[in-house]
């Protein structure tokens, strides 16, 4: 046995092994959705939590959702998370930065098997950095399935690497049914990068779980505290922090900094702390788990975000939800995220950020800042996963009504849309992919692939039975705590 699903333990008697007739799934407006991305738990990040939360809310709305990702160390095979969310950890080689290597073909047999056995109707890929997501899109189009892609990041146009990745994105998205971006800036960026018709790009923001980020005024420090929670890397503007901290600490004697996160730029902050003797005023907490973020946030009064590029900044929404005054750089999609009375936007320079922080401090001292509870009540209405799921569902409904380009149209589109050289190369690859698929269909016809037992969805075996909450996802450290 190559890879054992579930590892055997915490498997009770499987209650649900009754075959489901596939026709019943297509009757109502529910979809069988397959989320594909290289990034999923146990890896941590924005994309991962987006996929997880969106899937949970879609399951709640009666859809069948499965997730396909690559194996993380010992975690391979098939796992179930909360509410019967099924995750396939495929044994594919990881190449760089948790992204799998792509040959455009080697993943076809396995992905096709999964798409067929789960009776998937819509493939939803996430993140343009994920090779697996693009592979899945490519295969899904060959198989005639509907495709949706969510872009979570912004890209420039200046350097050579972005020229190449943008070309690949053009190829990948030119025949995708619908694209979702997380902010309007991200939409503009994606439309330009992939030369798309803006009508097929929807903007659906990320969300935060407001119940996870509640204010707690009693845990606040007595003196003024500025909180920073981000990875300490160049793109998050950690270098700016090294200028801001000494400047403000000199000016305000009762100011403290709490910095959560880890990264290669941590050494700079440590040097600053050393040089200006700020050990008692600047606390470096190191890497934080997602569940600890709230406990760090509520200790402060002001949240500072110094990102240099950001498609949709979850951190500032989380901070505002905890009742903090947010000071942030005006980059990417950040100006769209919070209304002006909740955020102070600055230019990405030490001077401008210090001015913004001083403004926040003076408001804090004069007591004109709204109460944390009030801010929380405002923010919690902005972004909810239920709303995101609702809007994503609309996209699915729209896509389900569309037709998938047949092979000849697809080739034509590739050649006309992606330039003469790239277009022809990828059209050829698409033909090879189609031949490979035909070969696989001949080797293992769809009819001898077992239909998987649904854990979720309209005929879901798990959603209704066994109310005592099966502990299959016992190792799922991120299940929602409602």
């Amino acid at each position: 046995m190559a890879y054992q699903g579930g590892g055997g333990h915490d498997h009770g008697p499987s209650p649900a092994l009754y075959p489901v007739s596939p026709e019943s799934l297509f009757t109502c407006r529910t979809h069988n959705i397959c989320m594909v991305s290289d990034f999923f738990y146990p890896n941590m990040g924005g994309v991962e939590s987006h996929i997880y939360q969106l899937s949970q809310c879609l399951i709640e709305r009666g859809h069948k959702v499965i997730i396909v990702t690559h194996a993380y160390g010992n975690r391979k095979g098939i796992r179930y998370l909360t509410k019967g969310l099924k995750v396939y950890y495929l044994p594919l080689k990881v190449m760089y930065n948790q992204s799998t290597a792509t040959t455009l073909f080697h993943s076809l047999p396995l992905l096709r098997y999964i798409f067929v056995r789960e009776r998937v109707t819509i493939i939803h890929s996430h993140s343009s950095f994920s090779a697996m997501a693009h592979d899945a899109l490519f295969h899904a189009k060959t198989m005639g399935l509907r495709t949706v892609f969510t872009d979570h990041s912004l890209f420039g146009f200046a350097d050579v690497s972005s020229v190449l990745t943008n070309k690949l994105l053009t190829v990948s998205l030119c025949d995708t049914n619908h694209i979702i971006c997380v902010s309007y800036t991200s939409k503009e960026n994606t439309v330009l990068r992939a030369a798309l018709n803006p009508e097929i790009v929807s903007v659906i923001p990320n969300a935060v779980d407001p119940t996870d980020f509640t204010p707690d005024p009693f845990r606040r420090h007595g003196s003024m505290t500025i909180v920073i929670v981000s990875r300490l890397v160049y793109r998050k503007g950690t270098d700016l922090l090294s200028g801001i901290i000494p400047k403000l600490c000199r000016k305000y004697q009762d100011l403290n900094f709490i910095i959560g996160g880890e990264g290669p730029k941590r050494i700079i902050l440590e040097e600053v702390r050393e040089r200006y003797q700020l050990h008692d005023r600047v606390r470096l907490l190191g890497a934080l788990e997602h569940k600890d973020v709230r406990n760090v946030l509520v200790q402060g009064h002001i949240f500072l975000n110094t990102s240099l590029t950001e498609a949709f900044c979850m951190a500032i929404v989380e901070a505002a939800s905890c009742g903090l005054q947010v000071v942030s750089t005006r980059v990417g999609g950040i100006p769209e995220v919070l209304p002006e009375n909740l955020i102070i936007l600055c230019e990405p320079s030490v001077k401008s950020l210090c001015e913004g922080l001083e403004k926040a401090i003076s408001q804090l001292k004069s007591g004109t800042l709204p109460a944390p509870e009030k801010i929380h009540n405002i923010v919690k209405t902005f972004y909810t996963w239920r709303n995101v799921a609702e809007r994503t569902e609309k996209v699915y409904n729209r896509v389900a009504g569309e037709t998938v380009l047949p092979m000849d149209k697809r080739l034509e589109r590739l050649m006309s849309h992606c330039g003469p050289v790239t277009g022809c190369i990828f059209a050829l690859l698409a033909v090879f992919n189609f031949l490979f698929l035909t070969f696989l269909r001949w080797m293992i016809p769809d009819s001898i692939i077992d239909v998987a037992v649904d854990a979720t969805g309209p005929k879901g075996a798990w959603t209704n039975q066994y109310p005592y909450g099966r502990k299959r996802g016992g190792d799922n450290e991120t299940s929602k705590t409602r």
Binding site: Q4, G8, L17, I78, I448
Partner: protein, 188 residues
Amino acid sequence: MEDELSFSDIYGGRLALQRRYYSPSCREFCLSCPRLSLRSLTAVTCTVWLAAYGLFTLCENSMILSAAIFITLLGLLGYLHFVKIDQETLLIIDSLGIQMTSSYASGKESTTFIEMGKVKDVIINEAIYMQKVIYYLCILLNDPVEPHGISQVVPVFQSAKPRLDCLIEVYRSCQEILAHRKATPTSS
């Protein structure tokens, strides 16, 4: 009571499932694959010999031909004796345990017995196998140290690899017996 049902394996080949109900607490399931067909045997032999003859015309060494004959004979023997399993049997007896027998094409039999006290449960699990995702039946064994843990997972019908409908048949019968055992606890 005895009946025979026809199923297919994950490659689409035919499988026959024989069920023998000796008593409410003792059942036997026997999965038999089709025997080695003469056609495939001839095809393999011909291919090997043709290849050997081709090599022979190239290097004109008669050792190759004799080696090819030996290789086919030894290969066939090894295949029949160690690889090709004709029949897999699962015998489950309420008060005793579970016995799994696989009979090779040569007539060799290997038997594993698990006493009932060690059996925690019989389940159907999913796994990624080669380029497929398949269901398989397996027996969970109790961990002697930790009462709720599982020490080992023993897959059943490993070589036949039947499809889900067949597994469900066996699974249901096994569950009936296991439920029966739980209803009347025996000292084991």
